[in-house]
């Protein structure tokens, strides 16, 4: 269901009970209709109908798109002890079904619903700019050129929810060292794939939430060289599904989630601060640094605590205090010694 359709329905149906299309019949519901019918106790009713009639009934709810789940592959990796967290992990089916990836729609369930057909092969990641040796990596090299390791990181979204996620990948520094960052470089710019045919949010402003695409992000060279800065190619031991940023994404765990740019095609080393997407959209709300900081509120909500998404049902979540630098101060606080973090949020 496209954003455009939702738009016109909003106008036409204003007289009666109107719910935007995406909330009414998400495709996952459509595909899961038999379970829903079962849950509603209507199974017996349906069973008495011949198969063709049953299919016909459900055709009323929408056009069936054959969308097989994206196929991920198992990865080989080490598990360094220093990146193991004692916290219980957020279950995989929540990590892969609750995503902000506006290229596939602005609601949390849009990415998993709309991204399963995403093509990562062929893929090219280019590292260029102020480097000694520009590098291009294809899909295969993303998972083979560097020794992979698993790191379990806390992820704190700027919307005040958080997860604990076991990523698989390699340090950003190891890639940048191979390319050879030149001495006059100050910043690293990152860019997401721009492909409106595959990413409906890039095609429709309504669906893409008004972000100027392609999505771009940036770090200082010192931040990028920090041991924590990570390029993830996998999640829960397997290659990334598209909704989590396949085939390669950044993970900077001491910054709000929007810094951790997904589906990267270009990393460019620069001598000035690059533009960053959310900062461009609302600079008073989202800064370049975007370090997790419980003392600096988002203008429209508090950042002092977060809803931690863990195991269990609706009421099992906990609200926990947010930690400075998301608890990674020991590794990164030095980077900001001389910076006023209220001003450079």
């Amino acid at each position: 269901m496209t954003g455009k359709k939702r738009f016109t329905q909003g106008i036409q149906k204003r007289a009666s009970w109107h719910i935007p299309d995406n909330q009414v019949t998400p495709e996952s519901v459509f595909n899961d209709r038999r379970n829903i019918i079962k849950a509603l106790g209507l199974g017996a009713l349906g069973a008495s109908l011949p198969g063709q009639v049953q299919a016909g009934i459900f055709d009323l709810f929408g056009e069936q798109k054959a969308q097989n789940p994206f196929v991920t592959q198992g990865l080989q990796y080490a598990t360094p002890a220093k990146f193991v967290l004692p916290n219980p992990k957020t279950p995989e089916d929540k990590v892969t079904r609750h995503n902000n990836f506006y290229e596939f729609g602005t609601s949390k369930s849009d990415p998993v619903d709309n991204a399963q057909g995403f093509k990562v092969d062929p893929w090219t990641l280019t590292i260029d700019g102020l480097v000694d040796k520009p590098i291009t990596l294809d899909l295969h090299e993303l998972t083979t050129r560097f020794a992979l390791e698993e790191r379990t990181y806390r992820l704190r979204c700027v919307e005040a929810w958080s997860m604990v996620v076991p990523w698989v990948g390699f340090s950003l520094a190891s890639l940048l060292k191979q390319a050879g960052v030149q001495s006059n470089a100050t910043h690293i710019a990152f860019e997401t794939l721009f492909d409106p045919d595959q990413m409906p949010g890039q095609k429709s402003r309504l669906m893409g939430g008004g972000i100027h695409y392609p999505y771009v992000e940036g770090l200082t060279v010192a931040e990028a060289m920090n041991d924590l800065s990570f390029l993830a190619v996998g999640l829960y031991g397997k290659t990334l599904p598209p909704q989590n940023g396949a085939p390669i994404r950044l993970v900077v765990p001491w910054k709000y989630g929007f810094k951790s740019i997904k589906s990267i095609v270009r990393i460019r080393v620069m001598d000035k601060q690059p533009p960053t997407s959310w900062n461009q959209l609302a600079s008073s709300e989202y800064g370049f640094y975007a370090n997790v900081n419980p003392e600096v509120d988002h203008p429209r909500w508090s950042q002092a605590s977060e809803r931690s998404i863990g195991e269990g049902g609706l009421f099992s979540a906990k609200r926990i205090p947010t930690q400075m630098f998301n608890g990674y101060g020991d590794s990164v606080a030095d980077l900001y010694k001389n910076i006023d973090l209220r001003k450079f949020y």
Partner: protein, 201 residues
Amino acid sequence: MRISPRGLFWLKVLLHISFLLPAFYLVALVLTDNAGGDPVQYIIHYTGMGAINSLLATLLISPIAKRFKIAALMQTRRLVGLYVCAYALLHISAFISLDLLFAWGLLFEEVIKRPYILVGAATLIIILLLAITSPKRIKRSMGKRWQSLHNWIYLAAILAPIHFYWSVKSEIIEPSIYIALFAVLLFYRKDSIYKWLKPKK
């Protein structure tokens, strides 16, 4: 056009069904794990949309009744208005219980500090007052004051879409459409709003 008492009864039944169904649908979505990996934001948004759509519906009733001369329609306004209140209460309950997880201190702080939550809270108070004073008995005993209290619905119609617009991160197209729709419905009532706001002699 005249509607028989029997017709009005069935119209009301139909309205009840159409306002209840979306709520049951939400329950079915959540129970069957079809409201996303973490359905909290989904539930809050869904019930908020339920409230704002019902509010649009209440404000549509009298223009339709006048345009098509169906006086009986006016008798459905209370029913629809109470659904506005029901969805608004579900919306705030979901926010407090599922998002804030009953952190009352945080709720209090947020209402004071965050304009969009303050606007939402003000809207809710108006809607609650109107719901509480909606029974016929209370209406009669309030006399003229009843109408002047219930004119506050116009303010709710301004605040509700502002709350929606202000709450989103960047998806402003849909809330902008709602602001426009409410503006049209209020423009349609400009004479009565003017009369309401004019200093009483």
